[in-house]
Symmetry: C2
Subunit: 203 residues, 2 copies
Amino acid sequence: MVKSKNTEEKILDSAREIFMMKGFEGARMQEIADHAGINKALLHYYFRSKEKLFASIFNKILSQIGPAMLTFINEEIPLEVKIWKFVDSYLELMKKFPRMPLFIINEISINPERIIGHLNFSDFLDLRKLEKILHDEHGKGRIIAVDVKHFIVNIIGLTVFPLAAKIIIQRNLQIQNDEWHQFIEERKKVIPETIMGWLKNMD
Amino acid sequence: MVKSKNTEEKILDSAREIFMMKGFEGARMQEIADHAGINKALLHYYFRSKEKLFASIFNKILSQIGPAMLTFINEEIPLEVKIWKFVDSYLELMKKFPRMPLFIINEISINPERIIGHLNFSDFLDLRKLEKILHDEHGKGRIIAVDVKHFIVNIIGLTVFPLAAKIIIQRNLQIQNDEWHQFIEERKKVIPETIMGWLKNMD
DNA sequence: GTCTATAAAGGGATAGAC
DNA sequence: GTCTATCCCTTTATAGAC
């Protein structure tokens, strides 16, 4: 139950919470209303339908992810620092909303039509610019030649996967709740090490 | 519509298809029945409830994943070959059921209670044995010292993430459907390279 | 075993009072 | 803006004929 906020904010906060926990299909308007401390009718008064309420929070969420990728590419800093900054800012953002990565991947995969138009990372991530950076670094003999697509998938996979699969990883690797935070902190070091080890593997 | 199979098999095949596509909450018994070419009542005749039908296919699916991990650890082969074998067998298995990884991660995360008991990778993956291998290799000066947990998360993340986030990756990296297969084939080489580059980064 | 018909419950949405 | 009461369609599940 959220306090000292106007009704619309309370609804949006509760909707985000419940939708992230249960997904679109599993979420119940009644549960969202209860969580916000109001009744169902008010939800419809403010957002007309479940679909529209969902769209509202989904847009909000996606707009928060872009900035985390901006620093990755645009600043004039060494490649290694770019990677470190991306991993750090992404993992920090996800501390607030740990269910966000899985939620986004799943909702888009189940219902891509609902999302069309919101899914453009090209605003934040200029593939060609990144490709040029990798190409130049290789030209200077600093790194091996790599495909920019695998470069991106590697970094994002190493960063996002443990968050998305948190429960499975915790159970199978026997990481208790109070150790999880530490594990994620370690990844801030491990991920850049992994990527740079790969890029500098010059045998 | 599935043909030339007994009714129970038709139901299980259809249920797997629909559940994987829509998730537990999004799936409809009617849709499963239509897909199997029968009517709703028969679903209940064979499996009593949606929950039980879901449990049946979920168990079946999880039991197919274990073996892909077995080769990874038990065979007496070099570490690099182990990694290669894991990635190869896992990606091959997922060609048949591309939605499996995301489906499993999501259903377990949304409803861990329903799954308890099926989630024990320790049958296939002996952490201590793997830890010993990494420790010995490090002792021989062949690799750097790494935490076995990050080792596993790295390998699985690099392998599973692109499958789970397929649609998002395809759209943002502009990979067409007919190029996706090629992209996954490339990863069979990229992932072992990434891991080994990390492990052998001896500066 | 398989079907049609229907019960029973769930859940999104609206009407109307305050 | 916020509430209660209620509508009504959807969906799971069962009854009963064949």
